[in-house]
Amino acid sequence: MSIYVRKRTLPYIDIAIPMDQQEEKIHALLLDNRFVDWVMNPQSPYAGYWLEWAARDAEHAWLLEEAKHFLLEMRLAEEEGQQDISDVQLEQMLDHIREEITPVRKKKSPAKYWYMAAAVVTGIIALTTFLLSTGENTITGAAGKKADHTADVIRYNGNKEDELLFLPDGSKVVLAKGARISYNLLMNGSKREVTLSGEAFFDVAKNPEQPFYIYTENVVVKVLGTSFKVTASGNQESVAVKTGKVSVYLKGQDLEVSAAKIVLPQQVCRYSGLNKELITETFTDKLPIAAGLEKVSSYSFEDAPLDSVIKTLEKMYAIPIQYNADTFAGCFITISLGDESLEEILKVITRTVDASYSFSGYGITLKGKGCR
C-alpha cells in the first residue's frame, strides 16, 4: 500500500479540486508542524505565514478553516473522552511524594478528631477523617448529591502547622497539616457545602436559610443549630459534639427522609467501616486543634489603602479580585475582615468607596470612579 505524506512542503496552490483531493489537502495541513503550531500556540511564529497563505485564495481559506475546526474538535474530543483522574487522587499522589522527600517522617496517629463547636452567633465544627481521601467522585445517592458547581476552590494545607482559612460565607476553618477542603467559589447556592479530607476545625457562620453540609468519605454532617460543638474521632471517621447538635448521615442516605444520627453534647458518633453504620457513644477529650481559631480571627485595617485590603481579601478567601488599581489609588478604608461573609465585606467596601461589585465564576470584579 502507499501512504501519502506531504512533508515540509507548502500545501497546494491549485484551485477547484475534487473531494478526495480536498481531503488530502486537509491531511497535509494537519500533518504540518507549522499549521498545528499556529492553531495551538498564540505566539506562533507561523501566524503571518498562514494568514498570507489563506489570503492568497478562497480555497486556501476554506481548507485552513476546515482543518483548524477539525483540530479543535479533536482536542475537545480528547478532553471529553478521556477517562479522568480526580483532583483528590492527584493530591494523594503528591502527598506520597511529599512524605518521601520530607526528611522527618511522621506516623499518622490512629485516631483523629473532628470537631464542631459553636458560639452563640457561630457554630464551630472540626472534622477529621482517618482516611485522606474524600471520595469526592464516589458520592452517590441522595445524601451525597451535591449541587452543580461553577468553580470549585480546593485549599490544601501543605504547611507543618495548622492553618486558618476563611470561607466566603463567613465561616472559618482550621485545616490541619495535610488536610484539604473544597467548596464552591462563592458558596452562594441553596446549601453551603464543603468536602473535607484530613483534619479540620470549622467555625460555621449562622445562616438557617443556607444549611451547612460537610462531606467526607463515608458520612455527611449537617450543621443544624447555632450552638453546638462537635468532635469526631475514631478508627475511620467520627463526629463528636461538645455543645449544640449536628446530624450525621451515611453517604447515600436521603437527607430529608432517613433518620440521621442526631449527635448531642458529650456524644461521639463513630463510623464503622466494617458494618457501615454509625455508632454513638460519650466522649470527654479536649480539642487541641480548636486553638488554631484563637490565633487570628480577623484582620483590622485603619485608614488603609484599598489596595492592601483587597490583597488581604484575595489571600483570605483564595479568590481573585479584579479592579483598576489606578482608579482606586486614592481610596482609604477602615475595616475589619474575617467576621462577616465575603459578600457583607464587599458591601461595606463598595459603600465606602462608592463602587459596585459583581461575581463571576472566576472571581470578583470591582467597578467605580475612585475617591479623588
Binding site: D37, G81, I85, L94, I97, I101, T102
Partner: protein, 187 residues
Amino acid sequence: MISSEHDIEWSRMKGGDPAALEAIYRAHVRSLVRYGLKLTHDLDLIKDCIQDLFLEIWRNRENLADTSHPKFYLFRALRNKLSKAHARHSFISESELRLASDSLLEEYVELTITARETEAENRQTLKQLLYKLPKRQQEAVYLRFYHNISYERIAELMSMNYQSVLNLMQRALKALRKEYTPRSKKD
C-alpha cells in the same frame, strides 16, 4: 508551547526547592496521567510510575540537565518507566516498536457509524474513534494535536524515525476523518 515559567521552576527545583517540585507536579501531572493512559490502561501503574518519577527527579536533582521543555522531559521519563514496568504485558516493548515502525501494517479500526448531522454528533464520533485507534496512533495524535509537540520530537520520544511517525499520523487521520463530516462541504 511550554512557558518559560516552568524553566524557572525547573532550576529552582534543581536548587533544592520542594515547592518548585510541587509546582512542576501540579503543572504537568494531569497531562502525564493522560499520556500514560495512551500507553497502558493500568491507571494504578501510571500513578505509581508518576510518583516514582517525581521522587527520582528530586533525588537526582543535582545531576539533572537544565531543560527548557520540562513537559517533554517528563513525558519521555514516564514512557521509559511504563515501558520497563509493563514490558511483559500489554505495553509494546521497544523492540516491537522498532519493528512496527518499519512495517506498513494497516491498523486503523473500521467503524460503521450512521450518518450524523450535528457537530455534537461529530465530536461524539471523534471521541469513539479516538479511543479505538491503536495505542501508538493515540499516542502520536495526543502529543501532536494536544501538546503541540513536533513530529521530530515525537519521533525521538517514540523511538521511531520521522517518516514512520508521519505514516502513523496519516493512518490515524484517515481513520478519524473517514467518519467525520466536514462542516461545510465545498462543491
